[in-house]
Amino acid sequence: MISGVIDFLTDPAQWSGPRGIPTRLGEHLYFSVIALVIAIVVALPVGLLIGHTGRGVAAVSLVVNAVRSLPSFGLLIFFVVLLSPLITGKNNLVYLLPTEVVLVLLALPSILGNTVAGVQNADAAARDAATGMGMTSSQVLFQVELPNAMPLIISGLRSATLQVIATATIASYVSLGGLGRYVFTGLAQQDYSQMAAGAVLVAGLALFVDLLLALVQRFVVSPGVSGRFSARAGTAPAATVTTENPVPAVA
């Protein structure tokens, strides 16, 4: 299998044209980024508000758990069947819209849940002191709660990103572009090398993006919060992975 995969990936024909790897990669990223941006724009402010005011926290955790239990593949098919008759005209939108709906739906819980948890878990004494010093409510939120919530927020973003990349792969089932096309085309053509190459590409993309976000986390989170400073015996936590929230990363 390995030789087959390598052959496929090193074949120059695969790297050009509308079915080439760069194109597919670009499509994949395109779908993913749109969904993530929408999810962040919606979930982050809502999460900050709910975490800060403390109202609706129980509802949030209920919603988050419920959506996480939904089979993403099923949701995808559902929305495709639901929305495609309503869309005429532009060819790709038929598949793009339901896919984006599902991707956004899947990204929302991680970002929302982690933002709420992050804000709620910000140091209570720091919050009290901030109010007592004369910070207004929004100053407390943005100057104290948000910076301290960053580890959880970014961890939620990482989970959401992995979820989206994985589901975008499956979305190729309904003839959208993206790296998943190699899997399904390979399946149709009974070409296991292509399938495997697609799988390797998807895995590679996921790992790369996660690494990128881990770097972002390293730079964005204050050292005072992550514990990343030299030498105070006994206070540095085990690894950056500490703040990871184990969430199903995959469709």
Binding site: D123, G134, M135, N148, S222, G224
Partner: protein
């Protein structure tokens, strides 16, 4: 000046945390709120800066109603120190201290340099400035908390159990330094504690609160110790009140007796010849007492520091009766060492002499009080 005017706080579930509290915290003085849990001391404190809003009554800041300010403006004019410091974990120490000046619009550079001044003032080394709170010890964090509260030079400081979260040795140090700071700055301070000893040590006036939010007594420490208003206060203030009250009485002129001394390092035979009884006081070349040497007949060699009994405490000429009595009682020779401001020997006093003086002074006072009561 902060004045509580018939202030009551009733919570939605019916509990009355503070019941018709009226008292005045004088400007430039430390007013302590003390009492058992559930007495409403923290609630009262937090009503001053409106972290909690009163159900009834008014709180006056000088001649203005605190309810008339906007909450955040009010708070920016008051330093707020809480039990676990509440430092911002995501900011460096210097940025933590600079918080309020920055909120008030001071330039970053100015705020930071003021922060550095304050860190020095509270006894911290400049090297902590760039560190994060998690890297500091509890005592250090408390100091930063105080520095932060002082940053905008507010006339009022509110402190909620500021020294409870550290161990006793550090606590005593912090308390002493705090008193020194207050001596320089003269702020109006309202401090909450559950520790009566801390209240007595720090407070200019102490408000003892009862469970249910009633004021039991509001008085200076000596009065609290010598004339508790009722059984509750008496019980809360604790036993050996009489003895502790002596800590507030300056001993005045103790008239210490001269004491023969021997310089450390001299000959033991010489020490024996100078001694009044079986003990001789050993001093440094600068006449600072080091300890007592037991006289052993026929002993030879030098007077070494390891031979000394350092059991006795010392009382300064400006010290209290309590310190004087303690010096006499703890000394192996029965004679308490009296020193001056430069730690040099002035002389010694016996327990008997100290007690005679105490009785003379208290006797005078009782006579005066009796005349006042009758007349």
């Amino acid at each position: 000046m902060i004045r509580f005017d018939h202030v009551t706080k009733r919570f939605p579930d019916g509990t009355v945390a503070v019941d018709d509290l009226s008292l005045e915290a004088a400007s430039g003085k430390i007013t302590v709120l003390v009492g058992p849990s559930g007495c409403g001391k923290t609630t009262s404190l937090r009503m001053i800066n409106r972290m909690i809003e009163p159900s009834a009554g008014t709180i006056w800041l000088d001649d203005r109603d605190t309810a008339g300010f906007s909450a955040s403006d009010l708070r920016r004019g008051m330093g707020y120190v809480i039990q676990h410091a509440g430092l911002f974990p995501h900011r460096t120490i210097v940025d933590n201290v600079a918080t309020v000046p920055l909120l008030l619009g001071t330039s970053k550079a100015q705020a930071r340099s003021r922060a550095m001044e304050l860190l020095e003032r509270v006894g911290l080394d400049a090297s902590v400035a760039k560190r994060y709170p998690a890297q500091l010890s509890g005592g250090q964090q408390q100091r930063v908390g105080v520095a932060r509260a002082l940053a905008a030079d507010p006339p009022v400081m509110l402190m909620d159990e500021p020294f409870s979260a550290v161990d006793p040795v550090v606590r005593a140090q912090l308390q002493d330094e705090f008193l020194r700071l207050q001596h320089d700055l003269g702020k109006t301070i309202v401090l909450v504690t559950h520790d009566i000893d801390e209240a007595v040590k720090l407070g200019d006036r102490i408000a003892v609160l009862r469970t249910g939010g009633h004021l039991a007594q509001f008085a200076a420490p000596t009065e609290l110790l010598t004339r508790p208003a009722d059984d509750f206060v008496a019980g809360f203030v604790g036993r050996d009140r009489g003895y502790r009250a002596l800590g507030f009485e300056a001993a005045g002129d103790l008239d210490p007796q001269r004491e023969p001394t021997v310089v450390v390092g001299s000959d033991r035979a010489a020490a024996a010849s100078v001694a009044l009884d079986s003990w001789v006081l050993v001093v440094t070349e600068h006449d600072e007492p080091m300890g007592w040497l037991a006289i052993v007949p026929g002993a030879t060699g030098q007077v070494e520091p390891t031979l000394l009994n350092r059991g006795g405490t010392r009382v300064s000429v400006s010290g209290s009766f309590r310190d004087a009595l303690d010096a006499a009682l703890s000394s192996p020779s029965g004679r308490g060492v009296v020193i001056d401001e430069d730690s040099r020997l002035v002389g010694t006093v016996t327990a008997g002499e100290v007690v005679r003086r105490i009785e003379a002074q208290l006797g005078d006072r009782r006579a005066t009080a009796q005349i006042a009561a009758v007349g």
